[in-house]
Amino acid sequence: MDLLNALVALANFVIVPAVAYGSQLALGALGVTLIYGILRFSNFAHGDTMAFGAMVTILATWGLQAQGISLGVLPTALLALPVGILGTMILMLLVDRAVYRFYRQQKAKPVILVIVSLGVMFMMNGIVRFVIGPDDQNFADGGRFLVSAREFRAWSGLDEGLAIRTSQGLTVLTTVICVALLFWFLERTRTGKSMRAYSDNEDLALLSGINPERVVMVTWMIVAALTTVAGVLYGLDKSFKPFTYFLLLLPMFASAVVGGLGSPLGAIAGGFIVAFSEVTVTYAWKKVLGYLMPDPLAPSGLVQLLSTDYKFAVSFGILVIVLLFKPTGLFKGKAV
């Protein structure tokens, strides 16, 4: 019976990674949910927008690195982030102008916008590969760990190590800041309230003197910022590869839905649910149980509910179950 080791093992392999991954998903899902709530469609181009934002940031990071500028223990990419955000904002506004605005003015049904976003997705897919290529790009620098497993073991004297990467710490911290800012913005500022009003009732917003184009513009800019931050954090923590960002679309989408589409709070909760269900349901409990059980009882098998092959399937399964019991998502979204 060794509770401490068991806890540390669990934290190291389940909790810390799931929290970081959940934060990344949450940031992405926030963007999905904002577009759904305010612009009223599910944006299939979201994953590729993330890739684009990360790409611009990477290019800027390389520029800075070439100049010899760095942030010490923190990744240089943080310095380049504003450039990435700006670049993505510009792209989003251009795309909106060239593509979405037309349909908005036509009062096109949202489903047309969904399909249009599919078209945008294809094009962004091409653009990103065109500029930076399809390969893995490494742009992380600075200190790798807040706490490394080895240090932790030496410090605590336990068998198990606990590692927390700088990027993981950054991810969680940035997510908290972004979410707090977003909530403050939506709940307290005039512009934020006007966005909520627009999302609630477009016609009446117009009749109240709210400029819809401005709301849309601000939305795209916030979404651009969120996606870029999410894309960069993800890239720092794992790696940047355009194709991965496309695949990220599904879990982000799932997070937004399970939390209740249109609800920012739901998006965050959804991100963590998806992340934790991916990591925990397929976790092999052998090690943890090995610490907890007296030796003769220690399991010889893996004590794994399902093999990790099914982790993706499992998270979708959980999603469907949540929807069965809460048909509008955890936090009743705009979906009723």
């Binding site: 392999f13 991954y21 993800y234 794992k238 695949l247 991916e278 990591v279 893996l302 093999s307 092959d309």
Partner: protein
């Protein structure tokens, strides 16, 4: 003089899009070398024609293969991933009597496929790598391994081969878990692998795909310190990406001697990364085509096909990258060659690389060849 076209059918888009470009470049380098030399078939020019397989898109791959054939190619270098390679072989190459030399399809299943002697590969079957890896592990006194593989026919076949061989040799495989390439997060996999434990973690994946992600996550969380690296994981970018923590990890990749690959690296210069997986094999596949044509004096697949094994294997003078013209001259004058190329080509059995391997160890952030097997 004659114009000869060679098709390069690899996955420029899709999950291995990052490997495809150097592979194509490798093949094109050989083609250019020959074409410039004017030594093939009385000064024939050789031109490459690229086509995409999407790596996993059977429909796209077969129609592009058809297109290549309609274009009048005399041979196809490709496909890349075992799945589409099988599809192209069955649906295009065999019906059209076209020869394919794949630089990278390594699935053991392809060894026994009914191919009417039209299919060759410069990469060895994964079945062989399983044996070699077991030897390496045993020599290093490793008793138990955790095993993870990229979830496709390559990864699965390789993992099965390693597992069977290693267990037959008395080792223990604590877990054999798949990982999908390009997925967002590998915490779940690493968690399971760590829980299962083992002396080292063998990663049968791709170095810039899920394999890298797994190694990073495993190192970061302190789950494993040493890794076993089969061929798909050997490349300069891995130690560069992972950093000093990788020192001490080891593995093996098809190839003999450093000479061939070094020459190719020098020739490639900055144009592309010659050590990228399956790039030397691509160069060699292209070279084999042209040697066989020269030996047969024809670009008709039916005629040069049977010559491929002859030019690839002893007896004859050894030919390395950069010496293609020399080889062609020898063949022209009726001599014999034993093409070694960049990946130590030695075709056995049904026309696949025999599989001599370099044992690699990461030392000081570099892949160092410590032994040949």
């Amino acid at each position: 003089a004659q114009e000869v076209k060679l098709g390069i059918l690899v996955g420029f888009t899709g999950p291995i899009e990052s490997l495809a470009e150097p592979m194509a470049k490798g093949a094109e380098l050989a083609i250019k070398e020959v074409s410039d030399s004017g030594a093939l078939l009385d000064g024939a020019t050789v031109t490459p024609v690229r086509a995409d397989t999407g790596c996993i898109d059977n429909g796209l791959a077969t129609s592009n293969a058809e297109r290549l054939i309609a274009d009048g190619v005399a041979g196809i270098i490709g496909g890349d991933c075992s799945g589409v390679t099988g599809a192209v072989l069955q649906n295009v190459a065999i019906p059209n009597g076209m020869v394919m030399i794949s630089p990278s399809a390594t699935s053991p299943g392809l060894s026994t496929v009914e191919d009417n002697d039209l299919f060759f590969r410069t990469a060895p079957s994964d079945a062989r790598e399983g044996q070699v890896m077991t030897e390496v592990l045993q020599d290093r006194g490793i008793e138990s391994i955790a095993l993870t593989y990229t979830n496709n026919d390559y990864g699965k076949g390789l993992a099965d081969a390693i597992k069977t061989n290693f267990e037959a040799a008395g080792g223990e495989v604590t877990i054999s878990a798949a990982h999908e390439d390009g997925k967002a997060d590998y915490s779940a996999e690493v968690g399971a692998l760590a829980s299962a434990g083992g002396d080292i973690l063998v990663v049968a994946g791709y170095l810039d795909q899920g394999g890298l992600g797994i190694i990073r996550a495993a190192l970061d969380s302190g789950a494993f310190d040493t890794f076993g690296l089969p061929g798909g994981m050997i490349g300069d970018s891995l130690p560069a990406n992972v950093g000093p923590d990788l020192n001490g990890s080891f593995g093996q990749i098809a190839g003999s001697g450093g000479e061939g690959i070094e020459k190719l690296t020098a020739m490639a210069g900055d144009a592309f990364d010659a050590t990228s997986p399956y790039t030397p094999e691509s160069y060699d596949a292209a070279a084999l085509f042209m040697f066989a044509m020269q030996a047969a004096g024809s670009t008709d697949p039916a005629e040069y096909g049977p010559k491929i094994l002859e030019v690839a294997n002893a007896p004859g003078e050894q030919i390395f990258p950069g010496e293609l013209a020399k080889g062609l001259e020898i063949l022209k004058s009726g001599g014999e060659i034993d093409y070694v190329g960049a990946s130590a080509v030695e075709l056995i059995g049904p026309g696949e690389s025999a599989g001599s391997y370099r044992e690699i160890e990461v030392q000081d952030g570099k892949n160092v060849t410590v032994k040949f097997r």
